[in-house]
Symmetry: C2
């Protein structure tokens, strides 16, 4: 007791904003149970009625067997040890365009060693390449001084929240369901979350009149609503917004003086021919809104797409429509961590400027890219049709992103059973699924959902073989579950 | 005007804590002037009475010509493109121990591609290696569960401030002069800085009775002082604390229930045979204080030492003496950015577990390391003796770290001239130095100094040739400056 009493810190004396963060990062009940089951299986392969845990709870494709893009990794290896560029053997071990690209990148860097701090926005030559990639994507100019290279997409979201949030009277409009990054970042800074529900009945689109109602309601309560988060393609919901819907969002932000925070990290994950990705910047410019009309931040990262380089922590934000004084303050916040990691910066530039037709690596690059995207697309389609065929389940088409978010109407007796165990019904369902099948999904309550509805997020896996296993085990489980709890 | 009025954000509506950050990140007056002079020289090499700007204002050795450690970069290249490990040519291009090490590291990683998110504290096998390195350094056990791998040392400092600071009534004891990381992190969270002055007349040691006085004074004003920052070896001051002084600091933290935040990033930069680096953990254990007695966080990074891999953003904090509940909250904050970048994690493990006697790379590794450290040591010694020989200047020995922090007694007429220009006298001095010589130093006012004293930070450069130039130009400048402003 005496020893414990001497501690400098107790939980009760910690920053309450940290305590207020949800513990789903600790894994939540479902992920924690998966972890202990993994240990049980490692110790005794016969401890469960399945041989492996299948992680459909997060998108971390390379830890599940997806191979990194060869061109990207060749360039990275050469940049990390530039002496390789001087070796004659290099031409046998690396493709010629990887060598050319690595020489070019190393040439951008003062000292040419990839070991120095860069400009706090990132290496200028890499930002030039990214701006050129954005310009080519949108058919509109983009400028390297608008690009801030960052450690993944989480860092710039935290930066923007730092700038925007003064206290609990400041609010941000945030989609529900949504990724915890935004809600956590707001909780940590004591902001007021102003939720707007995505419209599940219309393919998870944004209902502008509902959005306006939420905004007006928050303002009536004295909340200074400062920005709007939009995630397109959606996470966990997998929708791709149509241009008309995007226009409405842009109009609202312009008219209501909201900073538009556009999470566009899944811009290359599109699985439908009927839709294409439009950046919010392109949409804003297409309706005539320029730099002076709308403040817009677009977030991107190397953790998604066909590349899935999550551990690299590369990302950028493109910041447009801010006065130079405000821009100076963005710069000040960015400079607090000196600069983002150089490997991540390099990868981000490769993602935005991949091999072109005629380059030695182009055929293999293209084949790797297409194979991963087509595998993700097949998996998404198979999952959606499976979930839609199950009793009480409906699932919107996965048009993009990396997951599906089916709704499951749980029988009243299942809800009672969950309540008796003091768990949310969707957590109860996910735990039962895990115990029966080894499949890990994230309960919808982690992302938020319309009260009285229950969902789960299931990530799309890059391997078709696993998808077949998931579908077959899931079918058996769900049928038995519904049978067990039928009234 | 109408366009400007439509902006969602103005400086006056930003978070005032961001506005309160000092603008020295924007470079301050001196660094901004250096930047424009660099552009002038690039455009016209004859525009100034010197041919190059010499950056003694920050420690970024690889951008100034220091070569990265070959073994480290071989391992990094192989880990970044593990297919190289399967190629027969690899044995001609990489040392055998780099190949072995890379295989071992890739083997630690689920999926084996170095592209997945890791455990949010970092890859377990790498943490094991780091804990073993700490254990071997201190002769004491260290545990991988106490290690949090981070993006440089800035990220974990911000994490700890997030946990400790609830508002402006919370204070942290922080040395003056000190690196802006700590002060910025406090300003951003609205904490009260409780300064304690390092004792320049006693080699920048910590005067415990003064420290106690500052603590009591802050408490008397109602400040809840929660922690103490200590930087050893010092930055910008370059001292290495003696063990007795460290014991006093540990005793104070224990008795006063303060979390000891130990910046130990320069632990390998020691330039004197008379002193050695002792970690605060080792000191605490040596006087009998265990886990239950003192809460201690030690920060380290790959940006310093002989490696100087600043752009890699690798770092760790070792967290000891926290209850498991508090540890859970540390974990929650760490998980907000998913994980730190894998290249940085790998490099941090190499720094703490470098080649050993008998390994193929050991001789070259050792030669590179010794050459850099000896060059830094020579540069430090030459600078200190030069500064001490100049009129009105005194400079403590650079026992460690990466910079010296001489005091300069400016003539009253120079102080008047500075006031007439509305600048701090130390900024005035640094600007005049820059205009005359092209040498960039950081004015002491950026780090804090005893009122009425003036200093500048001059980083030690890894090249002796440049040091000679600096010394000769500095001598000519200082003599002329003192002559010009003599009363």
């Amino acid at each position: 007791m005496l020893r414990a009493a001497a501690r400098a810190l107790t939980v009760s004396s910690l920053n309450p904003k940290v305590l207020a963060l949800a513990d789903h990062h600790l894994g939540g009940l479902v992920a924690r149970r998966a972890q202990s089951m993994q240990q049980e299986l490692d110790a005794n392969p016969a401890s469960h009625p399945f041989s492996e845990i299948i992680y459909c709870n997060h998108s971390n494709p390379q830890s599940q067997g997806q191979q990194p893009n060869k061109f990207f990794r060749e360039v990275l290896a050469l940049c990390n040890h530039p002496h390789l560029l001087d070796r004659s053997e290099a031409s046998f071990m690396f493709s010629s365009d990887a060598i050319t690209r690595a020489r070019e990148i190393v040439g951008f860097i003062p000292g040419k060693t990839t070991g120095g701090y860069s400009h706090c926005q990132g290496i200028e030559g890499l930002r030039d390449a990214i701006a050129a990639g954005i310009a080519s994507r949108d058919g509109l100019p983009s400028y390297s001084e608008d690009i801030f290279l960052t450690d993944g997409a989480a860092a710039p979201v935290h930066m923007m929240m730092h700038l925007l949030i003064r206290g609990k009277k400041d609010g941000i409009l945030c989609p529900i369901p949504s990724h915890s990054l935004y809600t956590d970042s707001m909780v940590l800074r004591g902001a007021t979350l102003v939720p707007y529900y995505l419209d599940e009945s219309r393919g998870w689109s944004v209902n502008i009149s509902d959005l306006k109602k939420q905004l007006d309601g928050a303002r009536a309560k004295g909340i200074d609503v400062r920005g709007l988060v939009v995630v397109n393609p959606g996470n966990p919901t997998g929708q791709v917004l149509v241009e008309e819907n995007q226009c409405e969002i842009v109009e609202l932000c312009k008219n209501e003086c909201l900073v538009l925070l556009a999470d566009e990290v899944y811009q290359e994950n599109i699985y439908t021919d009927q839709k294409k990705f439009n950046s919010f910047k392109k949409v804003a410019r297409s309706i005539g809104y320029g730099e002076g009309d709308i403040s817009l931040v677009s977030f991107h990262s190397v953790s998604n797409g066909y590349y899935g380089e999550c551990g690299r922590r590369g990302g950028y934000m493109e910041v447009t429509g801010f006065s130079s004084e405000v821009r100076g303050e963005v710069y000040k916040v960015a400079s607090l961590s000196a600069c983002s990691n150089i490997s991540g910066q390099i990868l981000m530039s490769l993602v935005m400027n991949p091999p072109k037709v005629g380059d030695e690596s182009y055929p293999s690059y293209r084949a790797e890219r297409d194979s991963i995207l087509s595998s993700l697309s097949c998996c998404a389609e198979a999952m959606v049709s499976t979930f839609n065929s199950m009793e009480g389940m409906t699932c919107n088409k996965a048009e993009g992103g990396i997951s599906v978010f089916p709704s499951v109407r749980l029988p009243p007796r299942a809800i009672e059973a969950a309540e008796a165990m003091n768990t949310e019904p969707d957590v109860f369902y996910a735990l039962r699924l895990l115990e029966s099948t080894g499949i890990v999904v994230v309960p919808g309550s982690v992302f938020g959902q319309v009260p009285g509805t229950w969902h789960f997020r299931c990530t799309i896996l890059p391997q078709e073989e696993k998808t077949r296993q998931i579908i077959s085990r899931f079918n058996v489980f769900h049928e038995a579950f519904m049978e067990e709890f039928r009234s």
